[in-house]
Symmetry: C2
Subunit: 477 residues, 2 copies
């Protein structure tokens, strides 16, 4: 936020210039006064993303941030940024702009918000540095709406620089802690804008798909009276005269809903884990996408429903969020996410055979290590051309004691994991049950929103896909 003295100085500067008698453009620029809801002008503000050749020669109003400015003789080039999009603007001495106006434009601090009236002009040579490559804006009026500090804690250009380029050329990049300490600025980058729009899309598609399949969205309490999963890694809350706990999962409540005949429920909400681990994929608070459904005869009914839900999300993202995927890829290049319809379901013994063929030595009832999961992901991609698959029928020996054995083969179990780009995103199993309980036929699934976003986009740290991440060392912003 600008200090009072800095802003006063900058307001005086234009006034001083405007006082000069010879300024024929003095009404055409300046610092706007406070907006007090005095008027409702019928001025239409055009989106930067809408500035294309279709609007060539139109006069438009745009409200955007000054991303960069560069004065050059009687001209000033600005790059105006709005969310993921930017456009070049030109203030040049002439009929509309005076020398003083060009100087005013050149002195506007980066990240200030301006209102600009200008003519959209087709350019002869594509402007490679902007998203709007075919046009530029010839400025006729420019007013500062919100003035930024002259010095920023991080440069937006540094924050979107691909890391490889940064290392090779020795140019600055911004580390994760600096980003998080200055999250408001970091979230303005085109990459952050795209990541969190796509994340919003994941939530929307998850719900849309499940509602269409007849699910009901439920809200489950986060403050609970007893630790939900055995008491380890749980946060304690002072609750009036007593203690309470933060829910580590909505599982109990979802199961109650199944017993209460809702049949298919889902919820999206925070889950809390008091784990003192500092890795690229652990947070103390994350957003769970949770599903619970009763099945009629076979747990594959559920497996198929979940896998199809994920496929609908992937399809929707590729249909509706191509711009966002493209924006993120500019900074973090990554192969497009591949999947099959219906989803590939591999049995554990098939996966073992593939790994052994690749030279890995593993016993029939041995669990997959993380490097072997990654390797399997690559082998599956090569053989089946998919980044998403189900691994079914895990050996009974590597799953919890309450896992239902496969009725066809007592060494196998009715349990499975789902993988994206070689990382597990979801683990499920049919449980051994008492035939009197309804919960017998319900399967619980929790997926972490941050992790799905990270793996879909091929990013490397859940802190990139959590807007305000929480870990043992970070509680701010």
């Amino acid at each position: 936020m600008p200090s009072a003295s800095a802003s006063r100085r900058s307001q005086e500067k234009p006034r001083e210039i405007m006082d000069a008698a010879e300024d024929y453009a003095k009404e055409r620029y300046g610092v706007s006064s406070m907006i007090q809801s005095q008027e409702k002008p019928d001025r239409v503000l055009v989106r930067v993303s809408d500035l294309t050749v279709h609007r060539a020669d139109e006069v438009v109003w745009v409200r955007a941030r000054v991303h960069t400015s560069r004065a050059k003789g009687k001209q000033c080039f600005l790059v105006l940024r709005q969310q993921q999009f930017n456009v070049q603007a030109l203030v040049a001495v002439g009929d509309h702009a005076s020398k003083q106006m060009v100087k005013f434009a050149a002195n506007i601090n980066k990240e200030s918000i301006v209102d600009i009236e200008g003519v959209v002009r087709k350019v002869n040579q594509k402007i490679g540095s902007c998203t709007q490559q075919d046009v530029e804006l010839h400025v006729q009026k420019i007013y500062v709406i919100s003035l930024a500090e002259p010095r920023l804690p991080l440069q937006l250009d540094d924050a979107v620089r691909p890391e490889v380029e940064g290392e090779e050329e020795g140019r600055a990049t911004v580390n994760q802690d600096t980003r998080l300490d200055n999250r408001v600025i970091d979230l303005r980058t085109s990459t952050s804008q795209a990541v969190f729009r796509l994340q919003s899309g994941i939530c929307q598609l998850f719900r849309e798909t499940l509602i269409n399949k007849g699910f009901v969205e439920i809200q489950t309490p986060k403050i609970i009276s007893a630790a939900s999963e055995g008491g380890a890694n749980v946060f304690t809350v002072s609750y009036f005269k007593n203690n309470a706990y933060l829910a580590q999962s909505p599982q109990l409540y979802k199961q109650m809903c199944i017993c209460a005949d809702f049949e298919k429920v889902f919820c999206i909400g925070p889950v809390f884990r008091a784990e003192d681990s500092n890795t690229h994929r652990h947070l103390t608070e994350f957003v769970g996408l949770d599903i619970e459904m009763a099945f009629n005869y076979h747990y594959h009914e559920v497996v198929e429903e979940i896998a199809d839900t994920l496929v609908q999300i992937f399809k929707g993202l590729q249909e509706r969020f191509q711009t966002e995927i493209h924006t993120v890829n500019k900074q973090f290049p990554c192969e497009p996410f591949k999947f099959l319809e219906p989803t590939l379901r591999l049995e554990y013994c098939e996966a073992l055979a593939m790994l052994r063929e690749a030279g890995i030595e593993m016993g029939d009832e041995e669990d997959l290590s993380t490097p072997n999961e990654k390797l399997l992901g690559r082998l599956v991609k090569e053989k089946y051309d998919t980044d998403f698959y189900i691994l079914d029928k895990y050996p009974l020996a590597v799953r919890p004691f309450y896992t239902m054995p496969d009725p066809r083969n007592p060494k196998q179990s009715n349990s499975y994991d789902m993988f994206m780009r070689g990382e597990e995103i979801l683990s499920g199993a049919q449980r051994i049950h008492d035939p009197q309980l309804l919960t017998e036929r319900a399967l619980h699934h929790g997926i972490g929103l941050e992790r799905v976003t990270m793996l879909f986009l091929g990013l490397h740290n859940v802190r990139q896909t959590s807007m305000f991440p929480r870990d043992p060392k970070r509680l701010t912003p």
Copy 2:
């Protein structure tokens, strides 16, 4: 949950009957064995709500709960319930059913889940006690899938009885604490099924509408490092070696998103208030529907966007959830919710005039009491035929010091409340700002999901519209 001995007994009973040599129907009923995902039968289970005259004379399979059963000579009448719907089923001695089978059916505990094969038959006289009034099911096979306890802590029929009828006739109803202590059963009632389906619809419509308006859904942290609203009424969390707090609102984070150029954001998530108040409308944890958007020139841009969002929700509910509204009205009769398009915006001085005309004495700069708000709601309903309206331009004197004065009238302010059925659901204001801040032009709005559900349906307590309510005295279930 049934105890082991109870369930053993009940399994023996049918076996004993089935052993009798003369039972020609013995394969047609019984208790099903455990489902181990052994088979995937291609049997289609028909929904109870789909049992209409269109299926007359079809043989169908249905999986439902035994709501009631009544034996009468060689016949047994069952009411089968599935969520909000129920249908009458008849087991009668004849080709398909033996005497033993009728007895078996009559002895199935209420709330057990059964699979039934039967023929859909049109009835001559409407069955008033069922939602499927024009047909009944003539049972050919009946298997118990999940056996309920013989004695239940509350009767479902009591739990859906309209309160007036209960008082008049002295018939049992179920009080709120018994309901909450046995929430799994209480949630099975047709009323609960309808309330929480409609609530899921509110969330869905809220998001749909806002996504269509260009909003982005965000996720905000619930564990924060400092109390968000001055430190009062905040829950403390033990966070590793330190203390942290539970967020009382996502406001700070939403504002950061506005400063970070997201322009229009919303979130749905829990908010926490450590208030020791036990009223019909306070919970310690509730679900906030939160909106934050920047406006360009006038705060009415935001007011109109919010009001339209609510109108889209009301319309969507009335279009898509007529069955649910009807189901709730059976227990809680209530006038349909009325609203106008565009929403009525009343200025405070107009409201004062209406109240004075109705005999209320109030000063120009006096605030509305709760009874006067209720009365105003009735007057507005009479005059404008709407249950939803905006009250704009509150006297500056009754609003916080940072509220923006109305530029046309210094005694008024740019602030407003929105009302549903005479109760405030949302309060907003433009704040006095420093012209250098972007947040100047953003307005925050939080609406409580439980309260909107309650007022839309004309219910009387937010505990009816919170699945697992939390208050100072209740942390379970």
